[in-house]
């Protein structure tokens, strides 16, 4: 261990005496610090803004005057996707998916107003986040600091010198690993400090944060091993640098951008217009509650009349129009659910393809892990959409039930001068409706979702370490 420490200390001394390395290291510290600060403030501003808008939407809904319940169904409600504290570390797909939804009767709207559509800055440059710095920039820094670790020793003949002083190949590689590992730790320190800051926030979950720290540790450790592997195998430092930059460009830049496009091409999604046309067509096929001759609603009316042993809808103990609205909503929601499930399934297939590409690119594996643990991945978006739809359906059906129970059929069908006032019910009805409360996943759920990414990174690390072991045994042979 004494020799390993000495070699590591000398490697670090070399870096400290290299002005370019020092500047690069200072830059990454600055970049990570800036990313932590800006991402932190961005996340807090977004979370605060969405909470404020949500509160305003709830007040506006509650402030509606006495009305016919169906007017409230169409008045609708707004929901804003809450943003968890870990989004400050990795905002994931949050900026790209919509963050607000308009809830109304008869239709499921998609989330709107993704941040990238509202900010030309985000479209052009993306957001500077700690996750981005650690996923993309930190490996490049490690490459520039470590490409010559072993290649330089063989190239300049100092490898033999070290071995003559009693250092074994294994000790030499271990010393270099220790030095570059220390650099990786130092590079990750500001981001991890940011993670600790997040840990102090309400709603921050320890298990996902530990998972994130472990994932990034594995990822940077993997890069350290890969760098030394290439540096051990390639004869010249310059060639090692070329190989490593190419490896970085392919695995960290090219594949993470190309694979989602390939997955999108392999599993095409319907666009919004196609979906809406298809849903409208199916709705027409399903039946029209306003058409007295529509077969489905004729059967529905007859079943009601039979069950209550009456001849006319006017004699039913509730407002038939409210029942019609309940049934119509049930049918349309089932149809929308079907289309949503198809869309989710297609997106899940796309995501599975992207996740599998983690075997080709550790950056893809880490990105999946990071977003999953931070609760900012597609699954988190879907979780919000599903909870929002469940809330929308319950809200609309409650209003439809109010129409059925609090407004008489006679008043609802009347057209005289005072009919409009008689159809209204008190505002207390909607004020008593429960507000939307997003049920955030547990820490264990988030950590479990990150396990495939962790496993892939573990596989990468084991394979790279085995190759480094082989390269260590051959180090300096035949030179």
């Amino acid at each position: 261990m004494r020799i390993v420490r000495l070699i590591a200390r000398d490697e670090l001394r070399l870096m400290l005496r290299n002005r370019v390395a020092l500047i690069a290291f200072a830059l990454i510290l600055l970049l990570t610090g800036a990313a932590v600060a800006s991402s932190w403030s961005h996340q807090r501003a977004i979370a605060e803004r969405r909470a404020r808008h949500q509160h305003a939407a709830e007040r506006a809904f509650d402030a509606q005057p006495d009305r016919h319940p169906h007017r409230m169904v169409h008045y609708g409600h707004f929901l804003f996707r809450p943003l968890g504290p870990l989004a400050a570390f990795d905002p994931g797909v949050d900026a790209f998916t919509g963050n607000s939804m308009f809830l109304e009767g008869h239709r499921q709207n998609t989330a709107n107003f993704g941040d990238v559509r509202q900010s030309s800055l985000l479209i052009r440059f993306g957001q500077l986040t700690p996750a981005f710095v650690l996923q993309i920039v930190a490996p490049l820094l490690l490459v520039f600091l470590g490409f010559g670790s072993l290649a330089r020793e063989t190239e300049r003949g100092t490898l033999r010198l070290l071995m003559l002083q009693g250092a074994s190949r294994r000790q030499l590689v271990a010393g270099k690993l220790l030095a570059l590992g220390a650099v990786a730790l130092a590079a990750a320190a500001p981001a991890m400090l940011g993670l600790l800051l997040i840990a102090g926030q309400p709603g921050a979950l320890a298990l996902p944060m530990l998972t994130i720290a472990l994932g990034y540790g594995l990822y940077l450790g993997l890069w350290v091993v890969l760098i030394l592997l290439v540096s051990a195998v390639v004869r010249r430092s310059r060639d090692a640098l070329l190989v490593l930059v190419a490896l970085w460009a392919v695995t960290s830049v090219l594949l993470p951008r190309a694979v989602p496009d390939l997955a999108g091409g392999a599993v095409p999604l319907r666009n919004r217009l196609q979906t809406e046309v298809a849903i409208a067509r199916d709705l027409r096929r399903m039946g029209d509650s306003h058409d007295p001759d529509d077969p489905h609603f004729t059967r529905f009316r007859q079943a009601l009349l039979d069950r209550h042993r009456v001849e006319r809808v006017e004699d039913l103990p509730f407002n038939y129009k409210g029942l019609l609205a309940l049934e119509g909503e049930r049918l349309s929601a089932a149809l929308f659910d079907l289309y949503a499930a198809q869309s989710f399934a297609a997106q899940a297939r796309q995501n599975a393809m992207v996740d599998a590409a983690g075997l080709l690119s550790p950056a893809i594996a880490l990105r999946g892990l990071s977003m999953a643990a931070a609760g900012t991945d597609f699954a988190a978006h879907r979780r919000f959409l599903e909870q929002a739809e469940a809330y929308r359906y319950a809200l609309v059906q409650r209003l439809n039930r109010m129409q059925a129970e609090a407004v008489t059929y006679a008043d609802d069908s009347a057209t005289d001068a005072g009919a409009d006032r008689r159809k209204r019910i008190g505002a207390a009805h909607w004020q008593a409706l429960p507000d939307f409360r997003f049920v955030a996943p547990t820490g264990a759920t988030l950590a479990r979702a990150a396990l495939p990414g962790l496993a892939m990174l573990g596989l990468w690390l084991v394979a790279a370490s085995a190759l480094l072991g082989w390269a260590t045994r051959r180090l300096g042979a035949g030179r």
Binding site: L6, L14, T158, L161, Q165, G166, S168
Partner: protein
Amino acid sequence: MSLPSSAPILIEDLTVAYGDQPVLDGLTLGVGAGRITALLGGNGAGKSTTLSTLLGFTRARSGRVAVCGIDPGAAPDAARRHIAYLPENVALYAHLSAVENADYLLALSDERHGRAAIVDALRAAGLQERAWDQRLAGFSKGMRQKVAIAVALLRAVPVLLLDEPTSGLDPRATADFNGLLSAVRERGTAVLMVTHDLLSAADVADEIAVLEAGRVAHRVAACGPERFDVRALHARFQVAA
């Protein structure tokens, strides 16, 4: 030739080949404690391969090699602990000063010397004082050679292997170096010096062995009835080269 089995450097009937190309072919050579042997020979005669085999970097095809009783082919790390080696092309660390280089390399060998001992060795090796704390990036080949000599001298090991040790040195430094070698001999170190510098060899060696076709073709002693004549040896060496 019979060699005492306790000799720090012992080579018996050594055969080394690179592929089908034999480089050493039945080489037998020994260097006892407190003795300096100069190994001469033309290019490709097997001088560097002999050193490489002693250092454990090249495996013998047959024969016996021992450094202080240890086979460097089987236990290179153990054998190297007994060897100080000065290569022809000195590789040192350009980001470290002369003192730092010595300190680092000696620390790796677990031979800690204070700064005073290191600067004494640098001074003895002929490196000017103003260069002691300068980084090696701007050093000439000769200056680097002096740093390496200082490191080799500081290592208190029983075997010193030298590969063209005076190739980068001026005549004054060469003479100083030869003086240092004599001091090393006095402390009982076995020295094997590969060189083309016949004058140096004649000046400092106890014995000169001339390699031809992978084996010792001529062996002359520095004193006694076999004491060598430099002119005759030079003529022979010219023919061999």
